[in-house]
């Protein structure tokens, strides 16, 4: 039984079992077993180079594990096509990498890959939800860093993911924009019971936002539990 099962309740949304990845004979992620529960915000914390982002990239199979696997709702994630898996496990990265053009085009992108056309009112609703009402026709080049990251969130949410992976989503933002995006993510998780796994190097942010925290060092999971237990008060 994992530490998570001992300390948390609820159904497991995502489970990693002995997950590992070696690159050119160097182990970047080593033997990670953890559970992520439905509706929780799990923080992955550690110093630079500790393997946080490498672990996150294994969770939506952007990189291939060299050992172990991931279970999504109890099923080995290799049973899903990569596209289906990535629709269900969305991702927001440190840099938003918005596609050239209008905000609406970015929000439409994910559903359009499956041949779905997102209605204008759905786009407007999503943008309103991320605090950008009336931004549909705006060119992405005219957006601030904080606004771009909000569009990136709306774009990921348009796919209706069950789990959202957040890789340092506020680290490229100024303090004011950072607090805004942080509050937005917290309200999204609270309002929609979205399951989130967030990588952050900022321990204070992890304390503020996360239900539980996994502390990584040199590719290994060294501590796992409530933020106050792992990171101190």
């Amino acid at each position: 039984m994992s530490i998570a099962q001992q300390t948390a309740t609820g159904a497991v949304a995502l489970r990693t079992e002995h997950l590992g990845r070696r690159v050119a004979d160097v182990s970047v992620v080593t033997d990670i077993s953890l559970d992520v529960y439905h509706g929780e915000m799990l923080g992955i914390v550690g110093a630079s180079g500790s393997g946080k982002s490498s672990l996150l990239r294994l969770l939506n199979r952007l990189d291939e594990p060299t050992s172990g696997t991931v279970f999504l709702d109890g099923q080995d994630y290799r049973q899903f096509s990569p596209r289906e898996l990535r629709r269900r496990v969305g991702m927001v990265t440190q840099r938003p990498f918005l596609f050239p053009g209008k905000v609406a085009g970015n929000v439409r992108f994910g559903p359009s890959q499956r041949g779905e056309v997102l209605a204008d009112e759905d786009i407007a609703r999503l943008l309103e939800r991320v605090g950008l009402p009336g931004f549909t026709a705006r060119e992405v080049t005219n957006l601030s860093g904080g606004e771009q990251q909000r569009v990136s969130l709306a774009r990921a949410l348009a796919n209706r993911p069950e789990i959202l992976l957040l890789d340092e989503p506020t680290s490229a933002l100024d303090e004011q924009a950072k607090m805004g995006v942080e509050q937005l993510i917290c309200s999204l998780v609270k309002d929609t019971s979205l399951t989130c796994v967030m990588v952050t190097h900022d321990r204070d942010q992890a304390r503020r936002m996360c239900d539980r925290v996994a502390l990584m060092e040199a590719g290994r999971l060294i501590q796992y539990g409530k933020p106050a237990e792992v990171l101190g008060a």
Binding site: E64, R86, R87, T93
Partner: protein, 262 residues
């Protein structure tokens, strides 16, 4: 001046090659003064060039006495070598050599075969080998340019590509615009050659035909035919190689494997 010093065609040829190489090396030394270091690349390329062309000349001398079908083997050898050379421009892309060889074989092979069948290229070894080699060499250059551009574009836009993958996009869709720009960029020299034909340059084939006494107008038109064939084979090669290589940039699990560190 050289003709008075060297009395056989062969010694004269080597002396002329020496002077051309000295001139090329002088430019390399000039570049060095501007901190552009091409010394070893240029020296090796010049040495390889003379050895290879003398070897081909020797083989041609032998082949001239052989049956016509032997040219097929020589052209096939050229395609294999061209595939290997231009694949180096696609460093880190798995399968680049195979993709390059197939693309050059299809692009150059198809155009050469059609034009030979139509009687545009004579089946005599003295015609088929030089024209065929020109088509293969240009297909090789275009292929190298296309793969190199594609590789650079993918490396420069890895973030955008992985973002699109993470949103559930198909791998070929994530690199479609980069593949298009690679094809376009690779064909610029071939298009410019056609555009500037006769105005900026008079290509070697036409010069050779004129020297051997062909009608100047026919030599000019035939030169256009060759450059147009080169554009056709280069275009087909570039199109095929870019289409094939984009699949090699991803793993079967739709992960971007072409990375700057890889």
């Amino acid at each position: 001046m050289l003709k008075s010093l060297f009395h056989t065609q062969l010694t004269l040829g080597f002396a002329q090659a020496g002077i051309a190489s000295v001139l090329a090396l002088a430019v390399v030394l000039l570049a060095r003064r501007r901190n552009i270091h091409l010394e070893s690349d240029a020296a090796i390329a010049l040495l390889r060039g003379i050895v290879q062309i003398v070897a081909v000349g020797s083989i041609l001398a032998l082949l001239l006495k052989s049956p016509r079908w032997t040219s097929v083997f020589l052209l096939t050898g050229m395609v294999l070598a061209a595939g290997s050379i231009s694949a180096r421009r696609a460093k880190n892309i798995p399968g680049a050599r195979k993709v390059s060889t197939y693309s050059i074989a299809a692009g150059a092979g198809l155009v050469t075969a059609i034009m030979t069948w139509a009687g545009v290229i004579d089946t005599a070894i003295t015609s088929l080998i030089p024209v065929g080699s020109m088509i293969i060499a240009n297909a090789m250059n275009t292929n190298g340019l296309a793969l190199n551009r594609f590789r650079s574009e993918v490396l420069a836009h890895a973030g955008e590509i992985e973002t699109a993958l993470a949103l559930g996009a198909a791998p070929e869709h994530t690199v479609a615009s980069y593949a298009e720009s690679s094809i376009h960029a690779s064909l610029i020299p071939a298009i410019d050659n056609l555009r500037s034909l006769g105005i900026v340059w008079i290509p070697g084939l036409m010069t050779g035909m004129l020297l051997s006494g062909a009608d100047p107008l026919y030599a000019a038109i035939y030169q256009f035919v060759v450059i147009a064939m080169i554009l056709a084979s280069s275009g087909l090669t570039s199109l095929l190689s870019t289409m094939m290589i984009r699949n090699h940039a991803f793993s079967p699990a739709e992960q971007l494997v072409l990375k700057s560190s890889g």
